[in-house]
Structure formats: structure tokens, C-alpha cells
Subunit: 389 residues, 2 copies
């Protein structure tokens, strides 16, 4: 198998963009990534698109060739990958597999979602489709409710506090305020977070990620060919995709995500490292409790210690393990299908030292965790600087 490099990244701003379409957002991100990589559209051999619910939000389906042909690609395989909120994480996993196996040399992976403007009144219902619509969904268990239950149980079992949840939100808002492409660039205080409108007890509006439009794209090539392209590349150390029950009520323990643990273990093993080697991470904070649980499932701290870890400042920009230096889904925004590839762009920006005000100090090895639904899918990716082996 070959080593694989990310040689180009491109993102749109995340936010609510009434004059943009799903396709125009995707084309902007792809164009930026191709320019960054110094790759012509004609050189692209396969196109991997992550999108969760474009047909439900906009009516348009058959999205991969619809976008790929407008991007100027040739008659190449153009495929859409769907795995709920981990859709573009899954597209990234399959693209990496193809390049490392020698099936393709130059591929583009993009993620996109257009959640505002059309069908916005149905957004909660459309998102609920990532859960079990014949079970929890039928009972009104939308995602804020499901993650509210996860938070309640975590508080009950481990003494996690609302202040610790708020600490995640405050940190991610502080980071997002430094990110020019973030959806909600404003600092908040713990007091504000605690006083936020209650959505699903104990989660207030400040514990919930945003409904956003946006797109992200990356260009992958084998490391042995990086010389032809952008020399400011990052090395993919490993990618792991796993699955688990989609319905929360099928899980033995709702305070942990087996899919995240498995993906973490596989990614660490394939990269030949452990959680102690990770310098910084982008975790899937669809809700603040999700970041806390992920920090436990990925072995950054022991089970139950994610709350105190978040409140200690260790995960802040200047801490020992910065988490969501980008602002995370909470502040950067969460255009569902774009989130996985967006995280990869964030890792590469940090590894290149291009993250400006939100640059982390130790930036040699970064981890991204992209969660689908309440853990039915997880993709964990570990990237490193070119000289990390």
C-alpha cells in the first residue's frame, strides 16, 4: 500500500447563504482545493462527494456527477457517499483507500450541505432521518433529545456538570471567533451558556451546533508523486471507518460510542501511535456532550473524566491538547455533509502552520473524529507533517 498525501484544501465560509446553491458552494470549495494543489480538473481521476440530505433539503439528487461535471472533471467515476453526519468522512475514507491501493493517483474529495433557504422548516425532521425513524424518531426523539439523554446519563454516572458542558461551548466559541470562515464568530461566557434557552435538558442552545450551509474539499495523491504538485502537503497516517447500531435504544451504554472507540483503536494501530502522540484534534461536537464523550472514547482521558478535562483548560488553544481549534461544529458551523472534509482541511491548515490567530503550538500530528447520528457511523483520521512516519 502507498502512503497518501493531502496536497490541496479548499473551504467555503460556513453560514446561511441565501444566494448560494448546493452546487455553487461545492464548486467554490473544489476550485479552492484544486488551485491550492496546483491540479487541473482534467487531471482528476475520481470524485468522492459526501452529502447527507441534499435531495431532502433542495430536491436535487444524483449530486456527484451534477457537481463533478460542473467542476470540469472528465468522464470519471463521480460518486456520492452518505453516512449521516459522517458522509464526507466516509467519502474521505474510501478515497484514501483507493489511492493507497494504487487504484487512482489524483482524486478529489468534497463535502457539502445546503441546510437553509429551502425546506428549512423541515430541518429537524430531515436530520432525525439519521436516527431510527421507526423507533426513537416516531417517539419524537430528535437529536437534541437523544444527546440530552446522553448528557443526563453522563452527569448521573460520572458527576459531569452543566458548567463543564458550558466550558466546551465557551472554548469553541473563543476559537471560532478567531476563524474567518466560522458561522458564529462571537465570544460567550460560562454564565451566558448556562442561561441559554433550554433545548433538551440539560442542553441549552449554547450546547447545540449550528444549522449551516457550506462546503469543503481536498485533493489526494500518493506521497511518491507530491513533487509534481503543492509541496506544502500533509501525510495521511491512517483513516478508520466503523459502524454500530443507529438507534440509541439499541446501545448497552449510552455514555460511550463503541463506533468511536473502535475507529480510534484501528486508526491508532494503523498509524503505529497512541492517543498520547496526538498534538491536537478536531472532534465532532454536534453537542457539547459529544466532545466530552469523544475525548474519553479516543483515550485522551479515562472514562468519566471528559468533563473535568474540558473545564481544566487542557483542551483550549494554549492547552496541552487543543480540541476544536477551528471553533468546532458549535461555532464554526455544521453543514452536515461538509463537516468531515472540513475537519481534514482544519488539520492540514494547522500542520502547515497557516491557522493564524488559532494556530496551535504543537502541530505535527492531528486527529479528526467525524460522527454519524448518535454513533451509527464513525470515521477517525490521523494526519501528520510530511516528515512524520
Amino acid at each position: 500500500m502507498k502512503d497518501v498525501a493531502v496536497i490541496g484544501i479548499g473551504k467555503t465560509a460556513f453560514g446561511a447563504f441565501p444566494t448560494q446553491t448546493l452546487r455553487s458552494l461545492a464548486l467554490e470549495a473544489i476550485g479552492n482545493a484544486l488551485t491550492d494543489a496546483n491540479v487541473s480538473p482534467h487531471a482528476v481521476e475520481a470524485f468522492y462527494l459526501g452529502n447527507f440530505a441534499g435531495p431532502s433539503f433542495t430536491g436535487q439528487n444524483h449530486l456527484a456527477p451534477y457537481i463533478g461535471q460542473a467542476a470540469g472533471f472528465g468522464p470519471i467515476p463521480c460518486t456520492r457517499f452518505e453516512d449521516a453526519c459522517a458522509s464526507s468522512g466516509s467519502a474521505f475514507y474510501h478515497a484514501w483507500q483507493a489511492v493507497r491501493a494504487g487504484l487512482h493517483d489524483v482524486v478529489v474529495v468534497a463535502g457539502v450541505e445546503k441546510m437553509t433557504s429551502q425546506n428549512t422548516g423541515r430541518v429537524t425532521e430531515i436530520l432525525a432521518g439519521a436516527g431510527d425513524m421507526d423507533g426513537e424518531g416516531l417517539a419524537g426523539g430528535t437529536f437534541p433529545a437523544l444527546f440530552g439523554m446522553i448528557a443526563q446519563r453522563h452527569m448521573h454516572q460520572f458527576g459531569t456538570t452543566r458548567e463543564q458542558l458550558a466550558a466546551v461551548s465557551v472554548k469553541n466559541h473563543a476559537n471560532g471567533a478567531k476563524n474567518p470562515l466560522a458561522h458564529m464568530r462571537k465570544n460567550i461566557t460560562v454564565e451566558q451558556a448556562l442561561a441559554g434557552k433550554m433545548i433538551a435538558d440539560p442542553l441549552t442552545v449554547y450546547d447545540c451546533s449550528l444549522i449551516s450551509d457550506g462546503a469543503a474539499a481536498v485533493v489526494l495523491v500518493p506521497v511518491d508523486q507530491v513533487g509534481r504538485f503543492n509541496e506544502r502537503w500533509a501525510r495521511i497516517l491512517s483513516v478508520a471507518q466503523t459502524s454500530d447500531q443507529v438507534a440509541l435504544d439499541r446501545k448497552a451504554d449510552i455514555t460511550a460510542f463503541p463506533s468511536v472507540r473502535q475507529a480510534g483503536l484501528r486508526a491508532y494501530q494503523a498509524a503505529g501511535i497512541g492517543p498520547e502522540n496526538i498534538d491536537f484534534a478536531e472532534l465532532h461536537d454536534c453537542f457539547t456532550i459529544a466532545e466530552i464523550v469523544a475525548s474519553e472514547d479516543l483515550g485522551f482521558v479515562a472514562k468519566g473524566e471528559g468533563g473535568p478535562f474540558a473545564a481544566s483548560g487542557a483542551t483550549a488553544l494554549g492547552g496541552t491538547l487543543p480540541i476544536n481549534a477551528s471553533g468546532g461544529l458549535k461555532s464554526k458551523g455544521h453543514p452536515v455533509g461538509a463537516t468531515g472534509v472540513g475537519q481534514i482541511c482544519d488539520l492540514v491548515q494547522q500542520i502547515r502552520g497557516d491557522a493564524g490567530e488559532r494556530q496551535v503550538q504543537r502541530n505535527r500530528i492531528g486527529l479528526a473524529q467525524n460522527l454519524g447520528g448518535s454513533g451509527g457511523t464513525c470515521v477517525v483520521s490521523i494526519l501528520g507533517a510530511p516528515d512524520v512516519r
Copy 2:
């Protein structure tokens, strides 16, 4: 790269099944394929699901782990592939790539669609999402209209007749009447077909494929491991996936599909054969004209000769090149996401000599062509008997 075998096939009947769900259909097909292959769910290393519009038809999204976990798979990668009507053709392509590259040894590919029962009133609108909703779709150009225009132009340019279109329909109904799993098992006459209710001139209801529920699944392993499983396997000689403009109005010539030509050329080249070596074929007859055009694009006859070819009897069960011995989308049914893998099951059944009343005589090399929309995607697969190299 390794040679890859199909060691198990499983299908549901295609039809309207009010008491079945999208998931129950998929599970039935997967269970049949695993039993046929003699493979335990725990042995499966990755799950590839083709589905076009499950979320729009049923509200349920995140379909790959939703089905995969219920099938008893472990925490493996479970991914949904969407490429309109070629969704499960695309899933098959990616699964074949992964096995031939040595990334996985035992994988399941399934396709499913549940088109009746829920949201049935919106079926034409949901299907139109496979075209350009900002262009042709906005102008009312649903698929019967688009293929009606293709037929009109083909008649104008090459003298193709309504009788030749009807010949495709009569043949496919005759074949489907012999298929116990077909949706519409009835023989029709050319006179009946010509007198059918006009849908989009010149296409009558007898020129249009069916709105069906159904699922299909296959199990793939490297040929060097077939000894562990079912010995009645078929060899995958090649699979090619291509893309082209999604909007019909972006095509220079609407009487041909460049994506089909390209996929055919690539598949022939990779298999080291030509159209003259194909013994029988399953072509994507979403409309009768599509079978005629595909028989030209794949080189079975010269451009413009598809109509006379169909009317000559050459493509009938006892003809020189039987096409759609299964009954095709016209009579077997067209549960969109299931169609691609369903065609693969049909090829394997013929290669095994298990097709009963509809068994073709020359059955060593079969070709399946799965079209997305009006040619935005095409997947061509060529399968052979174990001793074909």
C-alpha cells in the same frame, strides 16, 4: 490486482409490497445472498449499499449502518452509495475495486428501493431529482418527457419506428413472464403496446419501466479464496463507472450516451474482449428507447441500427444476443437502487445455468449496463464463467 468472484446472490421479488419496509426488503436479499455464499454475517468485512432516494420515499436516512447492523454485521464500514438509478451499480464498482486491490476479502453489496406505500404521490418529483432540477426539472422535464425526446430524435434521425420500440416491450414482457420474481408477469402483443396510454409521445405506458419495491445483494471474495465458500461462483471480468452531464440539454447529441460508450469501452478493454464476445446482456431499459440506444452505445450494432436489431428477434431469448432475459426494468420492475445489483444477480444466475425457463443458451460471458438519470452516470460490468480468463 486480484481476480474477484461473485460467490453468492440474493433477491427479493420486485413489486408493490405494502407490508414490507425498505429495511426488511434489504435484509431478505442480504440473507439470501449470505446463505447462497455460505458466509456468516460476522465474516463480512465491509458493506456497500446502493440506494437512490430512501430518505425521500420513507424518511429514513443513514441507511447503511441501519441495514448493516440489523443484518448482523460487526463494527465494519457500512456505506451508502448514491448515483441515481446506477446507485447499486456504483456500490458494486467500489466493492469490486476494494476486493481486487486487497483492501477486503469478504464484502456484501446490496441495493434497495421502497417506492410504493409512502410518499408515492411524489414519486415522479422524487425521480426527477436524478435530473437537473434547476433546468429541465423546473421546466417540467420529468424522465418520461426526457426519454420521449430522445425517442423522437432517434426516430427522426435514424428512422426508428414505434413498432421497434414496441418490440422491446413485447420481448421483455415475454421474458419477465418466465421470471418468478418479476413485478409484471404478463405477455403482451405489439398491438397492445402500440395502443397503450400515451405518457410522453411516442412513449406509451408499455414503453416505461415500473415503480417497484425490491432489493438485491451479492457477496464478493477474491478468486483465490473461493474454495472456502460456494463453488458455484462467477468471475468478474471488469467493471467500469463513468460520468457525463446530468442535464439532457447539456448533451451535444441526445441519441447517444457518452457515459455508456465510455463505460463500455473501458470495460471491454479491461476484460480484454469486445462486444462480439458478449453472449447475453442485461441493459438498463428504464424506457424501451434506452435499450435500443444502449445496444448501439455498447457496440452490439452500429449507430442507428438498434431499432431494426430489436425488431429482428436477435435480442430475444433464443436470438443471437439475448437482451434482458430477466424481463428487464420493463417487466421485472425497477426499484431504482436495487436495479444495478439485481442485474448482477441475473447474470450470475444465467452463468450458473439456473435461470429455468428464461435460461439463455450461450451463457459464458454476460454484460450488465446500469444507467443513472439520462446518462449522468453509467456502470458496465462484465462477468464470466469461472474458466473464462
